[in-house]
């Protein structure tokens, strides 16, 4: 379970949000909303431990994520704006390495199966520099298929994806939630997960009153 209490975050002198509290229980999904520059990405990066919050605590199963460190990282998966794939390596090599970094040993068969499910059949062995933007995003998203992390932190997972791939991601998220997983994400495209209650967290500019509002 992820608990955030009284979180405040700023970039430079600019206060992005303050007094932000929410809880995320197994099987729950939450969308972070807000206009450009309202701090969505900063919130997700704070949840990853990249940014130090000004105030407040982030607890994972009752322990502070800064103290849990590796124990927390074993339970979470972060997918940012950047794909974290190497142009020189093939989709297969990229997927096996990124799975290896997150502590999952992946054999060639499993990796190829994951890439095929992401719609990259026949492209597994090509260097990713020859793939299109959307296909590279699919290589990065293939990590969702092979990860056993409980908490998914997804920053704009749908960017550059076509309709088919969006449907696939919705399916993957639904499967993950059914396994008692947790998802927190941002998007500017509609993402519908059937049969799940979607919670939203709206970040408003700090100047205009409340830092964040749960719905």
């Amino acid at each position: 379970m992820l608990e955030v209490s009284n979180l405040a975050c700023s970039r430079g002198d600019h206060r992005l949000f303050s007094g932000l509290s929410f809880e995320l229980h197994p099987g729950q999904i939450m969308q972070v909303q807000g206009e450009n520059g309202s701090g969505k990405t900063s919130l997700l990066r704070t949840l990853c431990g990249f940014l130090m919050p000004d105030e407040g605590d982030i607890l994972w199963n009752g322990g502070d994520i800064r103290e849990l460190e590796e124990e927390y990282y074993a339970d979470m998966l972060y997918l940012g704006h950047l794909n974290a794939i190497k142009d020189e390596l093939s989709g297969l090599e990229n997927l096996r390495i990124s799975a290896g970094l997150s502590g999952v040993e992946l054999d060639e068969k499993e990796a190829i199966a994951a890439l095929r499910r992401m719609g990259l059949k026949g492209r597994e062995l090509l260097p990713t520099k020859v793939l299109s933007q959307g296909q590279r995003r699919r290589v990065a998203l293939a990590r969702l298929l092979v990860s056993d992390a409980k908490l998914w932190v997804l920053d704009e997972p749908l960017a550059a994806l076509d309709v088919g791939a969006v449907a696939l991601i919705q399916e993957l998220i639904a499967e993950h939630l059914a396994r008692q997983g947790m998802v927190i994400f941002t998007t500017h495209q509609p993402l519908l997960v059937s049969g799940m209650e979607m919670r939203t967290l709206t970040l408003t500019r700090a100047g205009s009153g409340a830092g964040g509002r749960m719905a």
Binding site: F50, E71, K86, E88, E93, S102
Partner: protein, 222 residues
């Protein structure tokens, strides 16, 4: 723990093999700089023999600076570094893996090339042997100290120059003991003291630099 270490080394070596140009530039720079000295100074054997260790070591120092900028920056730009920091294992271990791979790609070729270049300076076989041992002990230290600088200057504009300014002064002890060992051979003194000091520096670097670099990376990511 060691699984991640090996994974990072394998990955970085694989990437280096796919971009061979980067590896070759370092090596060719080293060869060029060293070869310029006999041409510029003139063919006086005594003088060349005397300045050989200094020239070789300084050239090794400069060429290892060349590739340091790339140690973390490529991974930083494409987001891989973020994923590395989220690896459920110690970041220091991973950093050590990256340093080891950096040494294999940019330090080891210099060590192998050095005896060939030493012949240009009419170095004796014994001096060449000590030069190789010194470089074997010293070049990993350069990669490790350089790692701290590379992590601190990550994402800065003009970071390359700043990196050299930060790292070069810290490499002076390595330079002193490395050249000192070769000079000791030619004056007939014992080389053991110089080499043991280099070894001590290596152990010290192994113990502290990965941790310091990991902390520097965390600061740079904010």
């Amino acid at each position: 723990m060691s699984g991640l270490f090996m994974l990072v080394i394998r990955r970085d070596l694989m990437l280096a093999m796919r971009r061979r140009a980067d590896v070759l530039t370092t090596l060719i720079f080293f060869v060029m700089v060293v070869s310029l000295f006999p041409l510029g100074v003139g063919p006086e054997m005594d003088m060349l023999r005397k300045m050989a260790p200094g020239v070789l070591w300084v050239a090794a120092l400069l060429s290892s600076m060349l590739s340091l900028g790339r140690l973390f920056s490529a991974d930083h730009l494409d987001g891989t570094l973020e994923q590395m920091m989220l690896a459920p294992q110690s970041l220091s271990m991973l950093v050590l893996g990256k340093m080891a791979a950096h040494w294999m790609v940019s330090g080891l070729p210099l060590v192998l090339m050095a005896p060939v270049l030493g012949i240009q300076f009419d170095m004796s076989a014994e001096a060449l042997g000590i030069l190789i041992v010194g470089l074997l002990l010293g070049t990993p230290i350069l990669s490790m100290i350089g790692g701290i600088g590379a992590a601190l200057t990550l994402g800065l504009r003009g970071g390359g120059v700043l990196l050299s300014l930060l790292v070069l002064p810290l490499c002076i002890p390595v330079l002193i003991f490395g050249t000192g060992a070769v000079e000791a051979v030619s004056t007939g003194l014992s080389v053991a003291s110089h080499l043991s000091l280099l070894g001590a520096l290596l152990v010290l670097a192994l113990a502290f630099t990965p941790w310091v670099t990991a902390q520097a990376l965390r600061i740079s990511m904010e």
